[in-house]
């Protein structure tokens, strides 16, 4: 069963053959949503600049690359170490995916309390298909996002995290997606589910990292449901190879008095887009949606966010900092919607970009859409260069120019990094920023000062 493919996926030939081997191929409901996904994707096609929120990011290069599905051998690519973000993965849970395939030998179960279920998508579909059916696709909204449809059709990897009511996970859970270790262009489609029941707390660190030089396409969808009074810290580093395409879509529901804190650090990838939609559904729900992007060469990074206030006294805070060198380009589209019911909303959005070269470019589009009367909302977008007075100040104290420039970049990005409440993660992300800097000559331990 499951080996008849009624609708061919036009995006990539060769994928139809892979479909019978996809996780949950024996589940008829899953087969149905995959079929629907294919049909819908074929109807929509890849997003083009004709769509309002795709005006500044073109996916033409995807159509020109003959991506192939990953194989089991790809998942076993030789690897001398796992690039953990956190200093000592000792007791910390860690999931590792290589070229889109789960790599069980690197999996650390860690000290997870009871009431926590952490497993790869394939296992969830095998062990608890009813739960998966209840959640998969529940939060992805309408069917207008072609990349979500594509992911639904092809999802072949990813993880599910379930935390029962009141359970607090102290240790951050790290999920590593390693790409680039193939000799041909591959595509993979992680689908992640994070569901926190009332009062639960978790910190998840997602690390997308390119280790080889191969071109690949990661199309990720993450659905997050945060129950009443629960809290999720969701941190992500995207450090793909310079030939990689990373397209990520995240949908988050935040219930009454619950909190969602996110930080996305983008430091690598030819083409990347992080699209996040947050629905503040319950009274008192809070979101902190922050990030930083540091790009060079001809890299392109797009951060598109929508925060929707649907209930009274909901708050959001959004700070993005960008550093663009060479011919790199970035897009920031940040929309805050305040529905009529959402009286007493407090929203604050800021996007600042530092251009290190005259060839770099940012398109920033902050948007407020307000239908309630009692709201406090602000937004701002600025673009500038290194402050020459500050540079002179540092140099006049003996700090060489290259080092002084690095210091000012780090200072600039620091304002966003400060939003990360988990100290270990803040340090790890600060290290990533320092390593991005040219000829990094700082000792990171000293920069942690605060």
């Amino acid at each position: 069963m499951g080996n008849t493919t009624s609708t061919p996926l036009v995006f990539v030939d060769g994928f139809d053959a892979a479909r019978p081997g996809l996780p949950g191929a024996d589940l008829s409901w899953l087969k149905d949503i995959r079929e629907a996904g294919i049909k819908r994707f074929n109807g929509l096609g890849l997003p083009t600049p004709k769509l309002e929120n795709w005006k500044y990011t073109r996916l033409k290069s995807l159509e020109d690359t003959r991506f192939q599905p990953v194989t089991d051998e790809d998942g076993m690519a030789a690897l001398d170490h796992v690039p953990s973000l956190l200093p000592d993965p000792g007791g910390r849970p860690r999931l590792v995916f290589v070229n889109g395939r789960m790599r069980p030998s690197f999996w650390i179960e860690g000290d997870l309390p009871s009431g926590v279920h952490l497993e790869c998508l394939r296992d969830t579909l095998a062990r608890d298909p009813d739960w998966a059916e209840a959640y998969l696709g529940r939060l992805t909204g309408d069917d207008h996002q072609a990349l979500v449809q594509l992911n639904t059709a092809m999802m072949d990897t990813g993880f599910a995290l379930r935390v029962d009511a009141g359970v607090v996970i102290e240790q951050p859970i790290e999920v590593v997606f390693i790409g680039g270790l193939t000799n041909r262009p591959v595509a993979y489609f992680p689908r992640n589910l994070i569901v926190l029941a009332a009062g639960a707390q978790a910190t998840v660190v997602i690390h997308h990292v390119g280790m080889g030089i191969g071109a690949y396409f990661a199309n990720t969808v993450t659905e997050i449901d945060i129950g009443e009074g629960a809290r999720l810290n969701h941190y992500k580093v995207q450090a793909e190879t310079r030939d990689a395409t990373h397209l990520s879509t995240v949908h988050v529901n935040v219930a009454k008095d619950a909190a969602y804190e996110a930080f996305t650090l983008s430091i690598g990838g030819r083409l990347s887009r992080n699209e996040v939609s947050v629905r503040l559904e319950g009274e008192g729900a809070r979101a902190g949606l922050n990030g930083a992007y540091l790009m060079r060469g001809s890299e392109h990074c797009d951060n598109t966010t929508v925060i929707e206030h649907l209930a009274p006294h909901t708050t959001c805070r959004e700070i993005f900092k960008g550093v663009l060198d060479d011919q790199s380009r970035a897009v920031f589209q940040g929309k805050i919607i305040v529905r009529k019911e959402a009286q007493g909303t407090d929203g604050h959005q800021l996007c600042k970009t530092l251009l290190l070269s005259t060839g770099a470019e940012i398109d920033a589009k902050p948007e407020l859409e307000i239908y309630a009367d009692e709201v406090k909302c602000s937004h701002g977008a600025t673009t500038g260069q290194i402050d020459e007075t500050a540079l002179f100040y540092l140099r006049s104290r003996g700090i060489p120019e290259a080092q002084a420039r690095n210091l000012l970049v780090q200072s600039f990005v620091g304002e966003a990094l400060d939003e990360i409440s988990n100290e270990d993660v803040r340090h790890a992300f600060t290290d990533k920023v320092l390593h991005w800097l040219p000829a990094a000559c700082f000792r990171s331990d000293e920069w942690r000062g605060k």
Binding site: S396, R397, S411, K450
Partner: protein, 257 residues
């Protein structure tokens, strides 16, 4: 001990400097011996800040004529960080805020950069902390000011004291204080002046750049120069400052007219 003639600390000869094509300094001469403290006074727009910036090596100032000789070496074309390593320090009129970088980190980077340049070993964390303790105690500066980000949220007085602290740590041979009195009330001014006086030494020269005489009540110069219209118009002893306080700079407006 046979002593050869002491080298000049700073010798500026017929200096012409333009900014965006406009000539600001028009043939300035100045000579400072080791250990001396000179005050440069002048009205707004006379070129005082240009002089301080051009000695420290800021970009955007074009030297169209003349020379700046520091301890026998021509500074023309030298990067600001090299000048700093050779012993020039500029205390800023408006010290710059650097969010996210702790003051102590900044000072350590600066000091070690200078030590590397001179071929001296870098100080390790322990040595640095010990040295900082001595300096902050001497200048009455709180530990809190060291932990905070550079100049962020500092009061006007704290910013200027931080400049004095940097001077104490980097130990320059020529310190230029650019309008150090601006934005300070009298109590803050006294504290800053006290710090500067503690750093006076026979090996260190200082240039105090100021519009007003009041700073010179607390920091007593060896010589006072009046800078107007891009040139030193008059040089005298400390009493010249009092005279300027009384009469203002009107006389020099006429001199140029």
């Amino acid at each position: 001990m046979s002593k050869k003639k002491a080298k000049k600390m700073l010798e500026i000869k017929n200096l012409h400097v333009s900014v965006d094509g406009t000539e600001i300094l028009k043939g300035l001469d100045l000579s400072v011996n080791p250990g001396e403290m000179h005050a440069i006074m002048g009205p707004n727009g006379s070129g005082k800040s240009t002089l301080s910036h051009v000695i420290a090596g800021r970009d955007g100032y074009e030297i169209t004529g003349g020379r700046i000789i520091f301890q026998g070496e021509d500074l023309t074309g030298m990067a600001p960080e090299v000048r700093a390593a050779k012993g020039i320090f500029l205390a800023f009129q408006y010290p710059v805020e650097i969010p996210g970088v702790a003051n102590t980190t900044f000072l350590k980077e600066a000091l070690n950069a200078i030590r590397r340049f001179k071929g001296e070993g870098e100080l390790d964390a322990m040595q640095f902390v010990k040295m900082m303790r001595a300096k902050t105690k001497e200048l009455g500066i709180s530990d809190d000011m060291l932990k905070r980000a550079v100049n962020v949220g500092f009061s006007g007085g704290e910013k200027k004291r931080n400049e004095v602290l940097q001077m104490a740590v980097l130990n320059p041979t020529l310190a230029i204080l650019d309008e150090t009195d601006s934005g300070l009330d009298i109590d803050a001014l006294k504290i800053v002046a006290e710090g500067v006086n503690k750093l006076r030494s026979p090996q260190r020269s200082m240039l105090i750049i100021t519009h007003y005489q009041r700073l010179l009540d607390y920091i007593v110069p060896d010589k006072v120069h009046v800078l107007a219209h891009g040139k030193i118009q008059r040089t005298g002893g400390k009493e010249l400052a009092l005279e300027l306080e009384e009469k203002g700079y009107a006389e020099f407006d006429e001199a140029a007219a």
